[in-house]
Amino acid sequence: MQLKRYLLLTALALAGSAAAGVLPEDRADLLYHRYDGGGVAIDGPSLLVRKSFLEKFSVSGNFYMDFVSSASIDVVTTASPYEEERTQWSLGADAIRGKTIYSLGFTNSEESDYQSDTAYFGLSQDLFGDLTTVSLGYSRSWDTVLRRAASGSGVDPNFEERTDRRQYRIGVSQILTKNLIIGATFEAITDQGFLNNPYRSVRYVDSGSGTGYSFEAEIYPRTRTSNAVALSSRYFLPYRAAVRGEYRFFTDTWGIDSHTAEIGYTHPWEPKWIFDVKYRFYTQTSADFYSDLFPRAQAQNFEARDKELATFTSNTIGFGASYEFPGGWPRFVQKGTLNMRFDYIIFDYKDFRDLRVTGLAPGTEPLYGFNAYVLQLFASIWF
């Protein structure tokens, strides 16, 4: 089982990557991705192809796979390690009319115990001498949550839940000078339905247990609304290089507030190489109904012990390199790039404890933390 399937749209990436007034370039990308950390390894391929026609339309398709092998701390302490496979495909279409681009997209994601469909509509419009671009997006997701059978094979026929999600997004980007672009984005997301994980448990004090605690199923509210606003800027330096910065504030009805800040530097090495470095900082407060250790069974109406709802910070450093090679073979290829990106993430939890350490009084175990890396290897061609 995987929680939080925010099918926020690969379609958004596909359809929304266009600058207004110009359709996105015809290109194909083949990516191998790998995430490894905290006992979880996920890897797989992703293929993205985009092609325009009649100078007014552009279509795109994306195929993406995750192969998951999980022995995370949750799994190790309350369940059994598992392997899972997820397949996702997306189709998108853009149409340009004057200075407006209309976008439509659809994404489907399937795994043995979770299915999700998302439809997306967006538009972007150039204004004020093309110095300003306004973009709007709306998406709707319909998810089906299933649960693996206790026997370990197939799904539980007595368990099936639904989740509906709607997203509203508005963004503005503004050219300020010959070297500077700034942007602002607001996104509201509402969820309704089964929002927790059918496998995850919360911990409560139980003096009758040998460890001093026991577990019971977590219970989340059936609604959630979140608002996020992000500000960004990109600046072309006096020599050929660029710096960028982004900040986001997030708040939701579950009581989570978070801040995200990211800076990056892009440096070309003429004539073939481009290098990127970045640093990202993230911090959040816990959800109102989160606790590492509840005082008793059924202590509250809503209970969670999901570390993604805990108080924590993460720090990420990233590095990327891109090498451009000339086209001509096959003849339709205009140019291509070979790319590598590596991100290293350090998670530090402030109120989520490591239950692998035993023999201590409940609630005095050391705080949990882990490191993870994300590796991306991909080739791109323009045609």
């Binding site: 939080k4 749209l9 958004l12 994306n62 795994e111 997004r169 010959k178 995200t260 991909f378």
Partner: protein
């Protein structure tokens, strides 16, 4: 929720209706640096989409910072 949707539509209408003939202070021929690939908002959508997905799967926050695909393997 309905109020949110109405507000969203109102802002959209106002912004899209503001298509005046404002004189651009950065002329089209002065935008060569902004058009350089190193200034692109998202130079590699397939890679950034995956990375956003990694973060959204492991963090409580979501939205407004690029896009993300579904699924996570975050248990």
């Amino acid at each position: 929720m309905r109020r949110l949707a109405l507000g969203f539509l109102l802002i959209a209408t106002l912004l899209l209706g503001a298509c005046g003939n404002l004189e651009p202070w950065v002329k089209p021929y002065e935008r060569d640096r902004l058009a350089d690939p190193i200034m692109a908002a998202d130079r590699n959508p397939v890679a950034s989409s995956h990375l956003h997905h990694v973060f959204e799967s492991r963090e409580g926050a979501r939205g407004a910072m690029g896009s993300a695909g579904g699924g996570c393997g975050c248990n």
